[in-house]
Symmetry: C2
Subunit: 412 residues, 2 copies
């Protein structure tokens, strides 16, 4: 461990600056080694092999997606093919579309389109996924933060707030939550299924982005939230999302929306005015390549092999340089794409700023909070997945210096 005195740390910082580095750990992007795992996707589908259950992937039709793609996701998410709508390459886009349709037409149980109701609110577990929050923000929906616990969102708060008739839903990442990497506990999930919101069209957006995305250890199974909600008498309250963006190619995989049959029918009715179908050739190509759940899980182990050393490198540096000082805490996730860092209050923004000066780009401080406002100014999201390992090691060192400097400035 290096000396924890302003002058010494400042000197370290200046040395980093002199190197003119250009490092980026801002977004959860797979590395080149991970892209390499999907090399054979390019040749996985033949022109002459495009008919699937009587549907020609190469022509118009089949709004809800290729039958084998719906079956693939049904197995992965432990739901039925009829509960799966397979769309384009982006699950984020599908989530946006869900809110956009609530806005223009209302959801299945809406009394009116959301655009015709005043003061609509949405629950945002914090820290959370910045792109979720930007969707609700772009519609002018008021966002109410709810604290994340190790077990998932604070369900006492969720239950209390959902009793408000203007509260229309909640953003969830149930497995390896973005950015904390928590897995919602069985108790949390049970309470979600049993939720009795005041709004008839309250929607639990269940973004299962990291459903098979372990970094360490064996695959962790997850309960089928659709079934649990149905058993609790609220079959239409939840809409689940996933995609193969971080299984094959980011932004070029296939996305899925899973929901009750009634929701699928309703949403297909609206989507029928929007599209003829997603890109079925790509859907079929993805399925031919990924095959099934067992094959996918094997592939995810190889993704983990690429991710683990990067996480380890960053965490080792934090353990060596920061832990003894007791000036911050952080997560050590078993899956997902992020390390969540909690600095002392008032130090996150400055740390990110110093990193930028030293040539290391991080997600903007506060990004994991609605409107980008972290009330404590203490959270930083670290995404070590993309750069080569040597760069991650370097980034970790730069980060530690900047964190120390920001802390010392504050204590100053």
């Amino acid at each position: 461990m290096k000396e924890f005195k302003y002058a010494a740390v400042k000197e370290e910082f200046e040395k980093w600056k002199e190197l003119g580095l250009s490092l980026n750990i801002a977004r959860g992007k797979p590395s080149l080694e991970q892209l390499e795992l999907s090399r054979d996707l390019f040749t996985a589908l033949d022109f002459d092999d495009c008919i699937d259950n009587g549907v020609d992937a190469r022509n118009y039709g089949e709004l809800a997606g290729m039958p084998s793609a719906r079956a693939y996701w049904a197995e992965l998410l432990d739901v039925t093919p009829e509960q799966c709508f397979v769309g384009g390459s982006s699950s984020l886009n599908m989530m946006y579309d869900l809110i956009a349709k609530a806005w223009s037409n209302g959801l299945l149980h809406s009394e009116a389109p959301w655009s015709q109701q005043k003061g609509i609110q949405f629950l945002c577990p914090v820290p959370g996924y910045d792109r979720h929050f930007r969707i609700t923000e772009s519609f002018g929906i008021e966002m109410i933060p709810v604290r994340m616990l190790d077990s998932g969102p604070d369900m006492d708060e969720v239950e209390r707030l959902a009793a408000g008739p203007k509260v229309k839903g909640i953003w969830c990442v149930p497995k390896y939550s973005n950015p904390d990497g928590h897995i919602y506990s069985d108790e949390t999930i049970r309470r979600f299924a049993a939720l009795k919101p005041a709004a008839p069209d309250f929607v639990v957006v269940w973004d299962n982005a990291y459903c098979v995305h372990e970094i360490r250890g064996d695959y962790v199974p997850f309960p089928d939230i659709l079934k649990l909600c149905a058993q609790a008498g609220s079959p239409d309250m939840v809409v689940e999302f996933a995609s193969s963006s971080k299984i094959t190619f980011p932004g070029a995989g296939m996305s899925v929306l899973a929901a009750s049959k009634a929701n699928i029918d309703y949403l297909c009715g609206l989507a029928d005015a929007q599209m003829i179908s997603g890109d079925k050739v790509n859907q079929l190509r993805q399925v031919r390549f990924l095959k099934d759940k067992a094959h996918t899980l094997n592939m995810m182990k190889r993704h983990a092999d690429a991710l683990r050393p990067r996480f380890d490198a960053f965490l080792t540096e934090l353990d060596e340089e920061i832990k003894p000082l007791g000036i911050a805490s952080w997560t050590n996730p078993s899956g997902g794409y992020f390390i969540s860092m909690y600095t002392q209050p008032g130090c996150a923004r400055r740390t990110v700023e110093l990193c930028r000066e030293a040539g290391l780009v991080l997600t903007g401080a506060g990004a994991a909070y609605p409107y980008g406002k972290d009330p404590q100014d203490s959270h930083i999201r670290i995404a070590p997945s993309f750069p080569p390992l040597k760069d991650v090691e370097l980034a970790a060192k730069v980060f530690c210096t900047c964190l120390k400097l920001a802390t010392l400035e504050k204590e100053g």
Copy 2:
């Protein structure tokens, strides 16, 4: 020509019914021969050839699309790459998104989101594209029909109606209009560019779906509507769309939105909350395969070779069986995907119904009109592109019998 008496025609009809046919000329779908033209698309892109102008198609980023895809469309549409936003596989979806964003956020020059304004109206040249009309219908926007002339929409009417402050836009298919196959005249296009609507956010949706889609004769160039609008002082009034769905694979090509730089910036700002980018791997694959405009036009000649005999077969039958009777008129388009058929008033719905009974599925009568209501009940859209030639020939015969029978029933 067969006998034009009720008993004889009825007998013909019954004979068709007995055959138990299953024919479909309802949608503008490319045939298998046309799909065959894009066989090499499947192998057009290598895993190791995915970097384009420094952008990796296989990872996140680049909201407005791959640089070479933007350049490809810029050449095809005679605009600049900066004016092109290349998205997912469906231009229809992009048009829906445009209206959805007008609804939730407003367009560049909107005084308020459309959802917060009452009584919004849209102009619909009739007959027109049913899927356009379903978009505006799904938002509850009132649709006002405008008559199509051989030269394009009746511009006297368009200019008169656009003076209404609640009229927010118009659906256009400027080249080989759906379903009439007309090319807007230079005069019509000049008047569109010079249009001075009352609404500041009036949008001319310029769906250039058939921009390179000749059936007969040489490629017909078209003026750059963006430039004409800019020259007329309304650079942001028009948004143009196109896609490679009917160049490569329907529903699996790439789509483009072309607009003024100010519109692109504004729409990118909104799209940034919706998506990270379209499927850039597919964009790059399409570009590698289609190469450039010259290569694309060559390929379109081969599409024409597949389409022409089907159109000819249907038209020949109409000429032989219907023309001498003078009971209907129809278009003989040089491009696009449709023959527009005008029966005697009150005969279209019945003709379609009789065809269905005889095993021939057509687009629903009236589909080419807002709310599916053809006031004359005289229009039928014929899409002979998809079935094998022998089936098109058979379909034409069945159609002629049913048209004659419906006409005789009416005259009854």
